[in-house]
Amino acid sequence: MIEVRHLSKSFDGIPVLKDINLHIDKGEVVTIIGPSGSGKSTLLRCLNLLEKPDGGSIIFDGQDILHGKVKIEEIRKRACMVFQHFNLFRNMTVLQNVTYAPRVVNHLSKKEADEKAMQLLEKVGLSDKAQQYPSRLSGGQKQRVAIARALAMNPEVLLLDEPTSALDPEMVKEVLDVIRQLAGTGITMVLVTHEMGFAKDVSDVVHFMDGGVLIESAPPAEFFAQPKTERAKKFLASILT
């Protein structure tokens, strides 16, 4: 589904991604973990071209999206992003947030888009908030709306950039529950997170990054029980104590 080869990226001459190679299968739930500043969010943002990599290639469904003529919008609507700070459209109601892109990008009629959106809001437990503005919602509710908004595009891949990091502790669970539900539905998910327990639970593969380098990739049971590299051991020791 997604093949990342020799990907590199720097900001103002400072390298944040160094020769990243990884492979994501269709339907796989992948988590990227690592210390702050390790480049995991940047890597995720490269996958739907919110950041433009400096070198290497990303093959999305057989198509090289960094070279040749690729319409950037075509990639993005197939790989939608859920952000740490939700980024719901503030001038739109919850329902409008969810229906906006399907109507504008996929040309759904208002009726079709509304029906689909209500189904999704139902799924994330927020159909009663459809007519509210985001400012009236709690952080956890906002993030669930943001997930519904991304799902409304029927993306093949869902990218989640630290979806619970900006939430109050008591709201983390409601968002994780929604993501957990999705993990069983066959959608490909790439999740950057600090929730180790959750990563262990839901993911098929864990990628550990540090200093812009992809250090280790392994199934979660293996990675958390017996990390192969020194750095991964150190990282796990530091967060588990």
Partner: protein, 218 residues
């Protein structure tokens, strides 16, 4: 001492004069907003050359008196192009071009204060920029800039009195005419001032109404 009854024969003319004032203000505001929006987008764009010209434009129109711009456009256009520009055209053109410079700065500030995350969210859903700028960014930018935008249209309304110097029969010209005929300057100009004040207050009301409307999402 005061004798407002001298104005009586001229009152029917006042309605027409106020209408002219409103017409100038309305068209210049429209032109100012359209021009200001385009200029704001250009100054924020990554195209350095276009951005330079937009900034130069803003600098010139903010750095020279509106009255000079008006006279330049009204009197120099026929000389340069042999097109006889009407006072309405000259007025709307100079006020529109001038206020576009101010409005673009207000809108630019409004656009810059829209959270970066709003752009990213729209982009990440595959929405093309021309669409989400109109649907997501601009509504929030206008909301942020609303007080300055209302202020700008109030300025335009008052500045429209400048068109009286190129012979347009607006509210100020109406008063000027009366004082020339009756030598009653106080009565004439005080009524003109009152008319402007009432119109400005109406604009203020419209402003607070809009303010309330855009705040529903707060």
């Amino acid at each position: 001492m005061f004798d407002f009854s001298v104005l009586e024969p001229y009152m029917p003319l006042l309605a027409g004069a106020v209408w002219v004032t409103l017409k100038f203000t309305f068209f210049s505001t429209i032109m100012g907003f359209l021009g200001g929006f385009i200029l704001a987008l250009i100054t924020l764009s990554k195209n350095k050359i276009a951005s330079f010209f937009a900034k130069a434009y803003i600098s010139v129109f903010r750095g020279t008196p509106l009255l000079v711009q008006l006279m330049l456009i009204y009197f120099a256009t026929p000389q340069l192009t042999s097109y006889t520009i009407s006072p309405l055209e000259a007025g709307v053109l100079s006020f529109g071009l001038n206020s576009a410079a101010y409005i673009s700065e207000a809108l630019r500030g409004g656009i810059l204060s829209v959270d970066r995350g709003q752009w990213e969210a729209a982009m990440s859903l595959g929405v093309p920029p021309y669409r989400f700028v109109l649907d997501v960014i601009l509504p929030q930018a206008i909301k942020n800039a609303l007080p300055s935008l209302v202020n700008e249209s109030i300025m335009l309304l008052k500045d429209s009195s400048l068109v009286s110097v190129i012979g347009v029969a607006d509210t100020l010209r109406w008063a000027d005419l009366i004082q020339a005929k009756t030598f009653r300057a106080f009565e004439a100009f005080v009524v003109a001032a009152a008319v402007y004040y009432v119109l400005v207050m109406l604009l203020n009301l419209l402003g607070s109404y809009l303010e309330k409307k855009v705040r529903v999402s707060d």
